[in-house]
Symmetry: C2
Subunit: 434 residues, 2 copies
């Protein structure tokens, strides 16, 4: 009786092309983070349930993968990378320096409703600066978001920015401070459910007049500075929070990035956790997939685990969602398998020559593989084609005797016969680059 080789609902295998793409994206992100002095950390996939859930009680609890391990401990698989990071900071404060800049790219698990096209296992990518409350650090996270996406080859992004502190001042001013959490959660849905629905939800929480004021507040003006002027006024005049946005805007203009940033007071990021700036990032070519990178400033990362106050600012890229978006835009149309050269099997008795030749190509930084066992050339070419290998090498008895080789450009089926290894290296470089 065979076992059906199926995976769980909401879980996925990644075939080579896709796995390779994701690895490539990961590397670009790692390199970008490291160019800014961010360091990787790693934490366990499994943790004590009480550590991950804290006070608990939210939506997340229902979605968590939890169980009793064989030592009867209540354990859970991490559902994000923020909670483990907070726990990590509290556990290792004495071993770390502040400000601490870390990134973490890895899988998380949530038992989401898969009917919405959501996955239960997906890759998150978080980066944070902890231990400083400074506008320059706020800007660095924004800059790093921009650099990450542009290094990935993404053209046309807009980062929507707001400040929860100013929103709170405004709500206090219009007498809606008590309802602020609920108001922000509703405003946060604006992009998904539209103004009409947000309005009707708000009307259930606050007066009609207050609702109108909120709807006015969250509308951006034509420019960053005009919007800033408006929300400053609506929130009772200049404040440390409005000054913070002004400083950030001065960094933005100094680095000539004003086209990328939009001051958008409707951004609130639902979570209570954030206390300062908040932001979301949209692809101009694909707004429908929603924000691909978002985050904000918080004033106390690890309050569940330590008395030490740890202010910080951070952001998170939904790598799987971003990758799906980039696939839709067509960013990967051109990619191949990663193998440059296949050495065809002309005669099994020459396989040791093939290994030696492959090693020579590898020393020249080509990715080079052997086709094993002598099959018809048509079968060998079919293999190369399925794997999208651009170059085949004939290294038959004649070639070996003459110390030469024959190259076949599989893109145009052209043969370049009986050339030296050095010529072959040049030819292969041209084929790959051209």
């Amino acid at each position: 009786m065979l076992i059906e080789p199926q995976v769980l609902k909401g879980f996925r295998d990644f075939l080579p092309l896709k796995a390779s793409r994701r690895l490539r994206l990961k590397r670009i992100l790692e390199d970008t983070f490291e160019s800014f002095g961010f360091m990787p950390i790693d934490t366990p996939v499994l943790e004590y349930k009480k550590v991950l859930l804290g006070k608990g009680g939210g939506e997340t609890d229902k979605q968590i993968y939890e169980f009793k391990d064989k030592g009867k401990r209540d354990v859970a698989m991490r559902f994000d990378l923020t909670v483990p990071f907070a726990r990590f900071m509290a556990a290792h404060l004495n071993e770390l320096y502040l400000p601490f800049k870390r990134y973490h790219i890895d899988k998380v698990w949530r038992g989401e409703n898969t009917q919405k096209g959501r996955y239960r296992e997906f890759v998150q990518c978080d980066f944070d600066i902890v231990g400083t409350d400074n506008s320059s650090a706020d800007f660095e996270i924004l800059l790093l978001m921009y650099r990450s996406l542009s290094n990935l080859g993404v053209q046309g992004i807009t980062i929507h920015l707001a400040h929860r502190g100013i929103f709170n001042r405004f709500l206090e001013k219009i007498g809606a401070a008590k309802e602020s959490v609920e108001i922000m959660r509703n405003v946060d849905k604006l992009g998904k459910i539209g103004e009409v629905k947000v309005k009707s939800f708000l009307n259930e929480i606050i007066t009609h007049d207050q609702t109108e004021q909120v709807l006015d507040y969250i509308k951006p003006e034509m420019t960053f500075l005009e919007t800033l002027k408006k929300i400053t006024m609506l929130s009772g005049g200049t404040s440390p929070e409005s000054e913070r946005l002004k400083e950030i805007y001065s960094f933005i203009t100094y680095l000539d990035l004003q086209d990328t940033f939009l001051l958008d007071p409707s951004i609130t990021r639902g979570l209570d956790y954030y206390t300062g700036i908040v932001f979301e990032t949209f692809l101009d070519d694909l707004p429908s997939i929603g924000s691909v990178c978002s985050g904000g400033r918080y004033n106390n990362l690890a309050s569940l685990y330590t008395k030490q106050q740890l202010p910080g600012v951070g952001s998170s890229i939904g790598l799987d969602r971003l990758m799906a978006g980039l696939e839709e835009i067509g960013l990967f149309a051109e990619d191949n398998s990663g193998t440059d050269i296949v050495i065809l099997c002309m005669d099994e008795k020459d396989e040791n020559e093939y290994h030696l030749l492959a090693e020579r190509f590898r020393k020249e930084r080509f990715s080079c593989e052997l086709y094993f066992s002598k099959k018809k050339l048509s079968a060998q070419f079919a293999y190369a084609e399925r794997k999208r290998i651009p170059i085949a090498v004939f290294y038959g008895t004649d070639e070996i005797r003459a110390g030469k080789l024959t190259i076949k450009n599989l893109k145009n089926r052209e043969n370049i016969s009986m050339i030296s290894f050095e010529e072959a290296v040049k030819t292969c470089r041209n084929i790959i680059e051209g």
Copy 2:
């Protein structure tokens, strides 16, 4: 009430230096595998329990992390990368080409006894060629093991090689075929428990005379060929299996790797799964940590899930164990944080200049970070030292006005004052390389 920020027994946090090391090792391995035309795949961490355990009943079952998910499915976390790979091959046969060369580097979980210094979460690194039974493929896996370790900077490894088929012929010849699984499992322990204990275990299974013959069989002679001659004779003369070893040896000598390989008939790799060559790899400088890379040839990878016969050959590196070994040898003594340059904070009003300068250094491929907020220089230097950053940049009002900068070499505390950006780039390269 604070929650204690502790991790589960047998699980670990990785602080930046160590996480960064592991990432670096991973990348070297990925690059090496890809240079041989191997492609990455990914499979879920959670799978149906019946898929992972198959017929089950072994030692592994007791160690597995398993539970019922919220949809009442029996699920388990993967305990290796081989079983998911077998399931993957069966599930995707129609989408793949054969021979299929894949690698997979990721975490696996086993509820091991932590008193033996073992971890319950660790990283495995598997690579296989599936769909061919060919000596050239056998050799390629061996060559790839060698290249992987030498690209990691490991000097002095010995790959111990044997062939289970020859051992089986020999056991049949001495009338111990029925006991072969048990005999091999005991011989497999030779390195750990020594000859005396193996002998006494064998004596419980087979006659004293047979035990003596087995102990003679498993002793290597002075050279590969002498050992091959002996085991060929003891197993009844030339066979396809002895020919296979001969072919592999011819590849080994053709690529001038004979110093790295030892024909060692005591290698059996306990598992029934293997049917052809088997191998283990030891570090000459640290034999005590045991094999860091091992595997073998199997004749049917995915028999639990599909009727299609899938012969293959593969190997697995215990990345965490290898890393611990390399740390012990001192291979990482010199590594730093990855950040090349820190721009000191002389005056917060100039922070926009610092961002601009940092971006210029990043364009020149330096990793460059800002120190946020104006603290005493001694505090800023202490930060750089803890993070092992080799270069500090002073970019004060004088420097900015003059369009110059001042570099401090933190290795020798030397200042290079008021130089141009281009000179600074050269100076920084020299400091990092020297």
